[in-house]
């Protein structure tokens, strides 16, 4: 998968799981606010990303992933 394919797949899965319009997901948008994540639903986001992309996000990595762009880059790096 190239980066664009990853983005599309992740966005579709996140929009469906967290019941938001896919158009709300933009590279610069903050993940936590956009998906309405609390400490519990953050777990669901991480699990979903791993299920869709096969990339594991560890607790220490979650802290640095603020925006969707951060997330896409993180996944792309781990998949490379």
């Amino acid at each position: 998968m190239n980066k664009q394919e990853i983005i599309e797949k992740i966005n579709t899965a996140l929009a469906e799981e967290f019941e938001i319009e896919i158009s709300a997901i933009t590279p610069e948008a903050p993940i936590k606010e956009t998906l309405d994540l609390d400490s519990l639903s953050l777990v669901d986001m991480v699990a979903l990303v791993e299920t869709v992309s096969g990339v594991e996000i560890k607790g220490t990595d979650v802290v640095s992933i603020k925006t969707f762009e951060n997330l896409y880059n993180f996944i792309e790096e781990r998949m490379a």
Partner: protein, 411 residues
Amino acid sequence: MIMKKRVVITGMGIYSCLGKKLDTVRDSLYNGTSGIIFDRKRKDMGFRSGLTANIEIPDLKNVLSRNQRVYIPEQGLYAYVATAEALEQARLTQDYIDTHEVGLLYGNDSSAEAVMNSIDIMRDKKNTMLIGSGGIFKSMNSTVTMNLACIFKMKGINLTISGACASGSHAIGLGSLLIQWGLQDCIVCGGAQEVNPYSVGSFDGISAFSVREDAPAKASRPFDRDRDGLVPGGGAATVVIESYESALKRGAPILAEICGYGFSSNGDHISVPNVDGPSRSLQMAIREAGVNLRDVGYVNAHATSTPVGDRNEAKAIANVFGDYHPEVTSTKSMTGHEMWMAGASEVIYSMLMMKNDFIAPNINFENPDEDSAKLNIPSHRVDKHFDMFLSNSFGFGGTNSTLIVKNITNK
């Protein structure tokens, strides 16, 4: 000396195989409509019996947020719908709940499908994070009360009652005691039961279910000579109870009074009921209610359609009531056995009868056996006014609960 407070019912809500709200359930009871079907999927899964209650899982996508729904298992969805209906009937507004200590006591004794789903992921993925955030909250036995308490923001007692097939009845009985002694003014009580096949596979495995698969509506036949086992059912039932003073002060509809709660344990076999335990539960309820036996106009039996259980309950009822023969029916003839929910749902079924002047038929009661012949069991609806009923609920391990409820008419 502390004066015990009177405890009244001010709201009810139900989601069962007889209907998704009070009105439709009342009509099903009135018409003697069965909610039982044959489910081919269960046979494919290796079930001895493919019989089950027909119930649709409610879609609450536009009612609750994703972050609320993700923690709720199947029986919790039923409980939410039943509770919303009960709160509305009781005129318990969110503003009132926010500013008073409204309690929550609900019967539930399993969350099998949720536990299974979590463990399947653990075994398959070897990564607990992939279970997701809902797994723990859906899996715990207290899942119904933890979810409802958070959704409705309740601030009083918050507790699940696990008393096998008497759970819902004990929840109402114990709630009544808390109100009687002035520890709570208002408690949302009830019982919930999951219906998915996984939750009853082990029950099917001990040959407890009817195998009359060619005629599902005739399979649950409590007290009938040719009964061959129970049919699993489920859903949820909610009863709002409160002190008489609280109901008056709120201007709530006062529907009936819970005047007696009896309980006992058989101290005997894990699955085979006896006569002594249920008899003591009945006698305690009557003693606590301080009523004359002849004032009881209707008995809603626990009778599940199992050979031994029905026989022993018939003996217990006959022993306690002696030469007085009120109508006795088991609504499980229509609903199947609603287990953790049954004690609460059967109070509601009986309330709907009492409020609408009829006794629902014990459908499929075609021929009595030696013991049921001693009871007055109508197989057709009886149009009759009555002002008091007694409801029995018994469970595995020999737990017994009996409630006596008296009509109150707001004239």
